[in-house]
């Protein structure tokens, strides 16, 4: 089967976080566990022109991020308990019965996808709503998005349709884990490690 992937359109996202809340609702997650999060990346400055007028290049955009079900999942590589598996359709899942709760995947993942559940002592993360996928439905985050900024599909098809961009600030370089992610950039989007802006809501992601 072909690798499934998320598509995200930065030009459409308004930062409403309906995706995040729909995910928490679908999976009955506590408030501090957010399998899908919306990062706000912003920056810019004022520059003085020769005629003493000022021009600004202030920008902000949102990046909705969940597990990217990477083609080279570093979480699976490092997991000492072999509790993380990748299905034929590319969905990366944590088997909580096997997880020892060492949180090594949490250190390794550059998307903060694996998150610790204090109650069970094990790691949890986005399952791409695998139960919905198996029934032929879209994940909760995709259906919840009011601006149609999120889509799900086969990685190759999404790339053919929208291009193969998978990294923009504040995400990491795609080469590290080869995320199954297709990003439609807006005009304001900055490259990885550009230093042009900063994460405006670090406590939310």
């Amino acid at each position: 089967m072909a690798q499934l992937a998320f598509y995200f359109n930065t030009a459409r996202c308004t930062g409403c976080k309906a995706c995040m809340v729909a995910c928490q609702d679908k999976h009955d997650l506590p408030a501090e566990t957010r399998w899908r999060r919306v990062a706000e990346y912003s920056g810019g400055e004022w520059t003085r022109n020769n005629d003493n007028t000022f021009t600004q290049n202030v920008f902000a955009y949102y990046m909705s991020v969940a597990c990217n079900h990477c083609e080279r999942p570093i979480c699976q590589e490092v997991c000492p308990a072999a509790a993380i598996t990748k299905r034929d359709d590319g969905i990366v899942l944590i088997d909580e019965d096997k997880c020892i709760g060492c949180r090594y995947c949490e250190w390794a993942c550059p998307y903060s996808a694996p998150q610790f559940n204090e109650d069970t002592g094990t790691m949890t993360k986005c399952t791409m709503c695998v139960d919905y996928i198996d029934e032929g439905q879209d994940p909760a985050c995709v259906t919840a998005c009011p601006s149609r900024a999120l889509e799900i599909g086969e990685l190759e098809e999404l790339r053919a349709k929208y291009g193969d961009l998978a990294e923009v600030a504040p995400l990491p370089e795609a080469a590290l884990t080869e995320p199954a992610l297709v990003i439609q950039p807006s005009a304001k989007v900055k490259p990885v490690e550009s230093g042009a802006g900063m994460l405006a809501n670090p406590k939310e992601v």
Binding site: A108, T120, P172, E193
Partner: protein, 307 residues
Amino acid sequence: MDVREWALIAFTILSQMAVGSFIVLGIVYFFVNRKWGEAEADRFSDRALLAIGPVLILGTLASLFHLGNPLNAYRAISNIGESWLSREILTNVLFIGLGAVFAFMQWRKIGSPALRTAIAAVAAIVGVVLVYSMAQVYMLRTAPAWNTLATPITFFTTTFLLGALAVGAAYVVNYAMIKRSDPDCAAAQCDILRSALRWLALAAVLLVGVHLVVQPLYVAYLSNSGTAAASEAVDILMGEYSVLFALRLALVFVGAAILGAFIYRTASTPGREMVLGNLAILAFAVVLVAEVMGRFLFYAMQTNVGL
């Protein structure tokens, strides 16, 4: 920092100290055996060898406190093919096993010295692989502050520095026990103690030099490496924890270099064993505190790329 981080600090420091002690003990034994013979060598180091056991067990037990689901701990060696954490746990278990077999045989003088030496050599190699695996665990391609040569160099320096000073302190305690129970045979042991502590002090001075060279180079490298995660780690070290970082470097210098020099000088003149013993134990205590602080800072600098 919570219980889980302290569990990792205890585990890595104690395991590295155990590996370092085991290897240093073997090297010292080799030379003592050559000069003073097997009986004196055994008397000099057997108690120190047995003391490594509790250190290792304590470290390994501490590691369990790091787990959210310790009942599944046995699963930690399920991914030897890919995960350095699995390799770390496996080599840790192997080192405990081989070390225990060797210590028991050495204690009860089971088997020929050649056989015992062979087992000890294999255990020492497994110990080195254990420390190497420990370093690799942190050298994640997504963690630029950890993914540098400074991680293995620092881990091995800590291993041998703590090993040398722990063994030195153990020799002092062992000598005191011999002197109390059997004053007649203490003369040769006294010569051995002074000779061994002189060499260990020299080793400690050289090893602390590695720390004092590597740490500034590491900070300079991180500052210039350009990734946001590396800069963030430098900010943590030089901002929030700058006092602790300075204190850690000062303490390791005082403990290993200054006290090491005093130990070297004191050991060179006979009849000052009381002072020598106190210096050796003090040096070990100071460096242990400094190394715990260093490891605390290592974990405090945990940052990764991306989100």
